[in-house]
């Protein structure tokens, strides 16, 4: 069977499952749903699955994508319901389709950040993000370097419950947590008490929804 793509959400208690644990968890769900995954050949066979854009622990998502191959045939439209019958709390299969485009073509991510803050800070925060450049330290393989996150923000606005932004997730990749770190570092008086992020949708370079 062709390479298939599963769109799923990860919310609630499941946001604390790490990327590596999620791979195991989803594999087990396929097995329970009697949807055997195709395995690699060779000395140490492993199921051929890959999940795009590993999700940080603590971040929710409504738009996770996982590619996989099945060892047998299955009706694509039935797969989500079969998986959902055997998923742990908080992981929900939304859709399965044949994958055509590569994960590398994903460019933008729309994300929602729920802020715990009082309303009058909203204006000031918008002004903060309107700056020409926003330079924050970022931990890289080589150590800590200063980067300007502004070019990676396509749009950003605040509402009563927090922010909604479209940020670049590949080349460069901007972890939405950096938006909060920028506030904490550069405008600590505006820093929210608590933020929880949710990925809403992924897009290609042209802001078409990536499928």
């Amino acid at each position: 069977m062709d390479k298939l793509r599963l769109k799923f959400s990860k919310t609630g208690r499941a946001v604390y499952i790490s990327h590596l644990d999620l791979m195991r968890t989803v594999q087990r769900a396929f097995f329970r749903a009697e949807l055997p995954l195709k395995y690699s050949e060779g000395f140490n066979p492993h199921p051929l699955i890959s999940i795009a854009l590993p999700l940080p622990v603590g971040t929710a998502s409504l738009c996770e994508l996982m590619d996989f191959r099945l060892a047998g045939e299955a009706e694509l439209s039935e797969i989500p319901a079969r998986l959902n019958a055997v998923m742990p709390e908080g992981i929900e299969a939304l859709e399965v389709y044949c994958a055509e485009r590569k994960f590398g073509e994903i460019k933008w991510l729309r994300v929602k950040g729920e802020f715990e803050y009082d309303g009058h800070r909203r204006r000031e925060l918008e002004r903060f993000f309107a700056a020409e450049s926003i330079v924050v330290p970022k931990r890289t393989k080589k150590g800590i370097s200063e980067i300007d996150i502004k070019p990676a923000i396509r749009s950003l606005s605040f509402n009563d419950s927090g922010l909604e932004a479209v940020v670049s997730v590949q080349e460069p990749s901007l972890n939405p947590e950096l938006l909060v770190q920028a506030i904490e570092r550069l405008a600590p008086e505006l820093a929210p008490d608590f933020v929880s992020f949710t990925r809403l949708e992924v897009y290609d370079e042209n802001m078409e929804i990536f499928r």
């Binding site: 499952i17 594999q27 087990r28 329970r32 000395f43 140490n44 998923m87 709390e89």
Partner: protein, 611 residues
């Protein structure tokens, strides 16, 4: 999930172990539940979720209508710090509700070094530590598990102990408690009645008095408590409950696989082994049943690995057929069958070769002692020839690594026995040189020693543990005489072994010591990085007790043991006889050869002898 908790979950290591929500967790409608039990495991999630006893009893208890049993695990220290700072009390994984709201708080106790975690969990739950400080009926705090065969060290803290296998007994205790709650009994009334349930030991119903030399003068039952509490067992093991729908953790745990239980008890009778005596009589599950339970469990969990559990899986009569039956189903589905450590005999090696076709996982043998004389004394029925023959087969089959486990400080051990370990390791190396098919990579022979801990209800329950200095001397003697690049020698530190020896045979005066250690920061002490001998020594001093009295003192035949009122099935006379046979280096045949009349058969059909 509340905001406070959400915040701290961002800051702690491995947050998924605190959230619940896993597949197969049991959620009940609170409006249909009239008894809630917090089933506490006094160690990390990763250990607790790997525990087969927890899996079994979680399923058994949740089968009771109206009863909701939820899991509670001990937080790691980073989480504990956050909880105490934010004022978040200990919660149960399924509902997230505070443990203090539950009717019953139960602990599964498998290892003495978890005692301080029991106190810590009660404290984090906001429940008074001492039974006497909890005058009300609710919450009932009870405990069961392997180490409860000597419940005395926790006697001050636990309202009642369940001795033996919990499948039937736990349900009976909960039913009685439900009645007590409904009818408004006092705690005292409930405990008095609970003491009549077979296997239930209520420590407050036994009065302990001491002699001037610190030994026990008497343990007197009162208020109609039984003279002897006899452990409970599952008689029909074939048809007893097995969890084929266990909770599947969403984060990696220690034994992250389906585990089948082949049998309970052990035919062997190694004299140092508590489990070998305390879990008798042997009860076996059929191959057909096990294959069926295995397949069902794999289907219900999605696990890609299955393993076999028992005290000595090589002794399972249908081992070969069982492996074939499981492999038939597992191999086409890329599921691994992993074998526990097997005995060093040819038959077992055959099975190892068949099962581990690709992965050459390490081979582990436990000769326990270095010379035949000492192996005979401890009744470890393995000969040097058998061990070397197994190694030959393994090396010819492509293995290059062997791990050999020994104990130092066994009764009657001499320097000759210690050096015998080196001799055996060199013979294994010789065997490798002669038979290895792939010598390019070199041999990896690992020798490990630990310090022998005498255990209650074993034939060595009267023995003195060697002192730490003496253990270290023997370690050095062995290390100095086992120098080879191919042999790697690890020894376990004797410090933990000393405290294990104290606690495993301790009396209820140790409750104060345990509490002192906990108050001074003792947590998660099964993890060597958190263990502090000094903290224990300080506590003994503060409580006016001497650890050597408990660990390093030989008991007389007639001394009253703290577990005098607990009957695990095997008669003390039999244990004593086995001890005498140890001193004359006489083997006792295993149960499959001849019944020795240990007394455990009285637990099922009655009478001294099996068969």
């Amino acid at each position: 999930m509340n905001r406070k908790l959400e915040k701290i979950l961002r800051r702690v290591q491995k947050p998924a172990r605190y959230t619940g929500g896993e597949y197969n967790q049991i959620i009940k409608d609170k409006s249909e539940v009239d008894l809630r039990m917090a089933f506490c495991f006094p160690d990390t999630y990763e250990i607790g979720m790997s525990n087969l006893g927890m899996r079994i009893l979680y399923g058994v208890i949740n089968e009771m209508p109206g009863v909701w049993c939820e899991r509670v695990v001990a937080p790691w220290m980073d989480m504990e710090e956050e909880m105490r700072r934010e004022g978040i009390p200990l919660w149960a994984l399924e509902s997230g509700d505070p443990v203090s709201e539950f009717d019953v708080v139960a602990f599964s106790l498998g290892y003495e070094m978890a005692y301080t975690n029991v106190l810590n969990m009660l404290d984090l739950a906001g429940i008074p530590l001492r039974s006497a400080d909890r005058p009300g009926l609710v919450p009932l705090v009870f405990a069961g598990g392997t180490i409860c065969c000597n419940p005395e060290p926790l006697a001050d803290f636990i309202d009642l102990f369940v001795i033996g296998e919990g499948e039937d007994m736990d349900r009976e205790v909960l039913e009685l408690f439900r009645q007590a709650k409904k009818e408004g009994w006092s705690k005292k009334e409930f405990l008095r009645r609970a003491a009549r349930i077979g296997g239930v030991y209520v420590p407050s119903l036994y009065e302990v008095s001491y002699n001037d030399d610190g030994t026990i003068a008497a343990i007197e039952p009162k208020d109609g408590a039984p003279e002897v509490v006899t452990k409970r067992i599952v008689e029909d093991f074939e048809n007893s409950y097995f969890p084929t729908r266990p909770v599947v953790p969403s984060t990696e745990i220690v034994h992250d696989r389906v585990t089948l239980e082949l049998f309970r008890g052990c035919i062997r009778g190694c004299r140092f082994c508590q489990a070998g005596f305390a879990y008798r009589p042997v009860r076996v599950r059929s191959v057909e049943k096990l294959v069926q339970q295995g397949i069902e469990s794999l289907k219900n969990t999605g696990y890609q690995e299955i393993s076999l559990a028992s005290l000595s899986s090589s002794d399972y009569p249908g081992l070969s057929r069982l492996c074939d039956g499981l492999l038939d189903w597992c191999e086409p589905r890329n599921i691994n069958l992993s074998l526990p450590s097997l005995r060093a005999d040819n038959f077992s090696m055959d099975i190892m070769k068949r099962v581990q076709k690709v992965r050459k996982a390490g081979l582990t043998f436990a000769p326990e002692a270095g010379t035949q004389r000492l192996r005979d004394a401890i009744n470890k029925n393995v000969t040097e020839e058998e061990l070397l023959e197994s190694c030959r087969v393994a090396f010819e089959g492509g293995w290059n690594g062997v791990k050999l486990y020994f104990m130092l400080g066994l009764p009657t051990e001499t320097d000759e026995d210690v050096l015998g370990i080196a001799g055996l390791a060199f013979k294994v190396l010789e065997t490798w040189k002669k038979h290895a098919i792939n010598r390019g990579r070199g041999a990896r022979i690992t020798v490990s020693t630990s310090c022998f801990v005498p255990k209650p209800h074993s034939p060595f329950q009267w023995e003195a543990q060697v002192t730490m200095d003496e253990y270290r001397r023997r370690v050095k003697l062995l290390a100095d005489n086992m120098k080879s690049r191919a042999i790697n020698y690890n020894w376990h530190d004797p410090e933990t072994s000393l405290i294990e020896a104290v606690l495993s045979r301790g009396d209820r005066r140790l409750g104060a010591v345990i509490e002192h250690v906990w108050r001074n920061g003792g947590r998660m002490e099964a993890w060597s990085e958190n263990f502090s001998l000094q903290r224990w020594l300080d506590a003994f001093k503060a409580c006016g007790l001497d650890p050597a009295f408990y660990a390093n003192r030989e008991r007389g035949r007639d001394e009253i043991m703290p577990w005098q009122r607990i009957n695990m099935g095997v008669r003390p006379e039999h244990l004593w006889r086995e001890r005498e046979r140890a001193y004359s280096f006489t083997l006792t045949p295993d149960c499959s050869v001849r019944c020795t009349g240990c007394g455990a058969s009285a637990l099922t059909k009655g009478g001294l002898y099996c068969g």
